[in-house]
């Protein structure tokens, strides 16, 4: 398996790009969809194969080549991106059928949609495996271009607004990050490491001790500030709720479940390579500060009765905060929690966004208003929403319960008992909002008149709920084995 890796790491993103070209050739929407699936399946398979290889290596040192770098974290992200991506492509027709006017004529717009989606996906798949900081930056920037188009796909005024904000803010943020990268490059150049490979993860890691502290600190700060914009950490998260609520549901799923964590992964790697020269106190402090702020900022927004997708967006903010906190704590327990949290959050959030498709079909003004008593109209949609909400609010037996427990325990172990306590209380406060959405939105009674769901249209969401739900339970079971496993310990050591 391992010897296939160098090929796979090239093939997987390449396949996605091929898919992009193919769908552009499609004549009819139907063709486009078939072509999309046809290429998506092997792509996902390849990505999962890579992920399996990476995860199977457990505690062993990471695989790396001239251009790629594959460790457990990359494996995790690959798996998440692959699964969410293929699900998104699978449900896309359900969205396109109902989508209104768009950039151009319907037929073209659909293949454009798929093209942009594949470009986005390809970039996402590349982020965790690329072995170079600068290259990672380039790819992230590329995701911005692709996803901005997708966010504004519906062409509605609000969608344009959301897309514009997303574009401007993330680009600005990323230029700040690039500034940081260049500063690093300068320091490397002064150490005599020239050229691109001076910015490879491992060469940075190797040189880390020699890097001058001041400029490295500046670089770290700028990088974090920049990436935070893309991760959606408070206080620079503001594009996130708009983009997530206006984008097509499949895209929102990718944004929330795949994009944010993979950028977070990059930030994590920056942390672990710069730790030797900047000092762990600083790096931990910055991460914990971002995490805690995000959780606290999310709470008041969750308390408002929000439209479904916007609610999920703010819960993404909260969960990015939790993950950042876990990485900041950095103890093996916390890292185990982070790993579990990323996976669990991805599945639950994706399911939630997919549930938005039938929801909007039943109740079109759910785009603007909080849902009411969905169970009355479509039990299966309600079930999907319920599963997603219960998981996101960290109740057993969901994996997020376990991961939050692990992260908080890790926090106490790291000596940040106070931070953990605050985070815990903030999470409990945020839970109130999700709970309200669950009780009023899902099981309540509805005042508005709705279309009743046709049983045929229910099938996909039922299937998704079953699959992702069982996946979540499996995660919980797996999560019990995580603590103390070599896989986690190597991650915690930040060996790159």
């Amino acid at each position: 398996m391992t010897d296939l890796v160098p090929i796979l790491v090239v093939v997987v993103p390449a396949l996605a790009l091929v898919g992009m070209l193919l769908v552009l050739l499609a004549r009819t929407p139907r063709q486009a969809h078939l072509l999309a699936l046809a290429t998506a399946v092997p792509t996902a398979a390849g990505a999962l194969a890579l992920a399996a290889t990476a995860l199977a290596r457990g505690g062993l040192p990471a695989l790396r080549g001239q251009w790629y770098f594959l460790d457990g974290a990359s494996g995790l992200m690959l798996a998440v991106i692959a699964i969410v991506g293929i699900c998104s492509i699978a449900v896309s027709p359900a969205y396109l059928r109902t989508s209104g006017r768009s950039w151009s004529t319907a037929a073209r717009s659909q293949s454009l949609y798929y093209a942009a989606l594949f470009l986005f996906w390809a970039a996402l798949l590349a982020v965790p495996i690329v072995g170079n900081l600068a290259a990672a930056w380039l790819i992230i920037e590329a995701t911005t271009a692709a996803s901005a188009l997708l966010v504004a796909f519906s062409g509605r005024r609000d969608a344009l607004e959301a897309g514009w904000k997303y574009l401007v803010l993330t680009t600005l943020g990323l230029s700040v990050a690039l500034l940081g990268i260049i500063v690093l490059a300068i320091s490397q150049a002064n150490l005599g490491h020239h050229g691109l490979h001076a910015l490879d993860w491992h060469s940075l890691r190797a040189a880390a001790h020699g890097l001058p502290r001041d400029s490295t600190l500046i670089a770290f700060v700028l990088l974090l500030a920049g990436l935070a914009t893309k991760i959606g950490w408070a206080p620079v998260h503001n594009w996130l709720p708009d983009a997530h609520s206006e984008a097509p549901a499949p895209i929102s799923a990718l944004l929330s479940a795949a994009l944010l964590p993979s950028v977070l992964l990059v930030a994590w790697r920056v942390k672990s390579i710069l730790e030797p020269s900047v000092g762990s106190a600083t790096t931990r402090g910055v991460f914990i500060a971002f995490g805690l702020t995000s959780i606290l900022v999310a709470v008041p927004f969750l308390w408002r009765s929000l439209p479904w997708k916007r609610l999920l967006a703010y819960s993404s903010l909260e969960h990015m905060g939790v993950i950042g906190l876990g990485i900041g704590f950095g103890t093996p327990l916390a890292i185990a929690g982070v790993v579990l949290h990323v996976a669990g959050h991805a599945l639950a959030k994706a399911l939630g966004f997919y549930a938005a498709l039938p929801l909007l079909r039943i109740d079109p003004d759910a785009a603007k208003r909080a849902p009411e008593g969905v169970v009355g109209d479509s039990p299966s949609t309600a079930a999907a929403m319920g599963v997603s909400l219960l998981t996101l609010s960290g109740l057993p037996p969901s994996p997020l319960f376990l991961s939050e427990l692990l992260i908080l325990l890790g926090g106490i172990a790291a000596g940040d008992a106070l931070v953990s306590a605050i985070a815990l209380i903030a999470l409990a406060l945020g839970f109130l909002g999700l709970l309200h959405a669950l009780i009023e939105g899902v099981v309540g009674e509805h005042a508005r008149h709705h279309r009743r769901a046709r049983s045929r249209a229910e099938r996909p969401i039922i299937a998704l709920t079953a699959v992702l739900g069982s996946g979540l339970l499996a995660l919980t079971a797996a999560g019990l084995l995580l603590p103390g496993s070599g896989f986690v310990d190597t991650l915690a050591k930040g060996a790159l």
């Binding site: 514009w164 904000k165 401007v168 803010l169 600005l172 943020g173 700040v176 600190l217 500046i218 700060v221 700028l222 974090l224 500030a225 935070a228 206080p235 620079v236 503001n238 594009w239 709720p241 000092g279 106190a281 600083t282 402090g285 910055v286 900022v297 709470v299 008041p300 927004f301 308390w303 408002r304 327990l333 109740l395 057993p396 037996p397 319960f401 376990l402 427990l405 692990l406 908080l408 325990l409 106490i412 172990a413 008992a417 953990s420 306590a421 815990l424 209380i425 409990a428 406060l429 839970f431 109130l432 709970l435 309200h436 009780i439 009023e440 099981v443 309540g444 009674e445 019990l480 603590p483």
Partner: protein, 614 residues
Amino acid sequence: MTLLGAAGLAVLTGGDALGAAFRSTIGPALGLDPLSGFFLAVLALTAVPTLVFARDYLPTSPGARAVGALTAAFLLALVGVLAARDVTSFLAFWELMTLLPAAAILVARRDQAVRSAVYAYLAITHLGGAGVWIALLALAHHGALGDPSALAAAGTGAQTVVALAALIGFGTKAGFIPLHAWLPRAHPVAPAHLSALMSGMMIKVALYGLIRVEFQWIGATPRWLGLALLAIGLLSSLGGVLWALVQHELKRLLAYHSIENVGIIALGLGASLLFADAGQRTWAAIAFAAALLHVANHAIFKALLFLGAGTLERAVGGLDLDHLGGLLRRMPWAGGAFLVGSMAIAGLPPLNGFASEWLVLQSLLHVALHRPLGVALAGAVALAGLAMTAALALLCFTKVVGLVLLGPPRRAECAQAVDPPMGMRAGMVALAAMCIALGLVPGLVVPTLTGLAPGVHGTVLARHAGLVLPGTGSFPSLALGLALAVLTTALIGVRGKRRAARSPTWVCGQPVAGALGWTSAGFTKPLRLVLEALLRPHRAIEVERDGGMVQSITYTGHVPSLLDAALYEPAVRTGLRAAAVARRLQSGNVRTYAAYLLGLVIGLLVLAHTGALG
């Protein structure tokens, strides 16, 4: 369920631990030790009759199948909390225990009132639950689950934090005043068997957690904790019974009584801590046993009463106290059981309520016998308070018995009420029998319970039928019960059969009319007048006149819950207002957002420049 109960009983009597011991690891582990065994046994004692009851009760209610399944899951969660031996599974089952009844309630009914009640329940308990999380995570971190020395090593600071967090966390779930606000909301809306289990067992499991942490895991317990428990207990018992007294709806009344009884248990526990602090092992064990005995008793008679309430609701529809009556004659089985339960909860000899209250009273009295002065006075005050509580409970349940079971039927449905089907009857009668049995021979149980107290090996008491304690003129419950029975029957015999013709009751010669009937508000009027300053009752009288002639007079009165108005509503209001202010962050203006970014970058640069980032 029965099997589990048996297992619990076995472990309880066997006195040795079963399964895994406590550990501070993540991996799940289950096991039992005598304390969990005791609670498990109580759980079984209440759950089995309740389930028997539910078999005939459920099928006629909406979503019966789902509710049944959820009930079973709920019971498993309760067992899980009792059997959990590691932090993960404990917290997991803890959350499930909170969540499942809410789900069951929502399946059964979904109207606005129920939803808001369930929301309040989940919200408050979950917020309080944060305390449980903090306490347990801290314990787990110090490896102090099941190892008292570990936390003691961690220093008094950690001890205090854990103790407080646990007190708040478990206290919320147990319904201590002022953390009780969810309880009178949630219990009334649940189906009868669920209310029985929630009120009977769920809050007891919370107490189980409290005992675990405060008595076993935090090492040497500080004196302030004992005093705090006394204060909380006093507040809860008096407050609970007072507000129960002024309720007009039976289930709400019962819910408030749960608060009262939890308070009594807290009094026992506090006394035990104070004894332990003073180094009096025997009395510490006795007070502990008193608390545990009351746990069992309350679980039994509260379950009985809630089942009874459910039955009555079925029979006559609606539980407004002023519209029941005369049911003892019409439903002798259910009514009789309900009567027994009421007498037991009112703490009347020779029923089980009196036995445990007598023990708690004795413990408090003996607290008051000992120096230092502060503790002694606290004991004396608590003693007086408990006496008042008992008297108030007596007043309250005299009212309940009178309005529900006795006198003329106050509504047409009551006149046609009949006994429920076999299963429901059986469940209630079984519980009533337990009330009597435990009341007659508490002495057989108490020595075992004293053995459960921390630092006690074996038992400190000899086994009798009655309660024979040092420093008391013993309470031979069995003899007393028999004596009362024999004497009463003898006197009845002496009285003979001579009776005059049946006559109506004396109302100054007027015809007996329903309008002359005494109401709940009327019966508690003297007390309301005396405690007007505290209870702040609202009352409104509307007199309709027509040409000087009074056509109709309508009286409406209710007593607001003081704490809701004083504590919860302002807190919620300020919270929401603050949130609304905070939401201005998301102004919708892209330029503002860019400004955030600029500020963030410059701010971080400043920090780096000033060296604040190390």
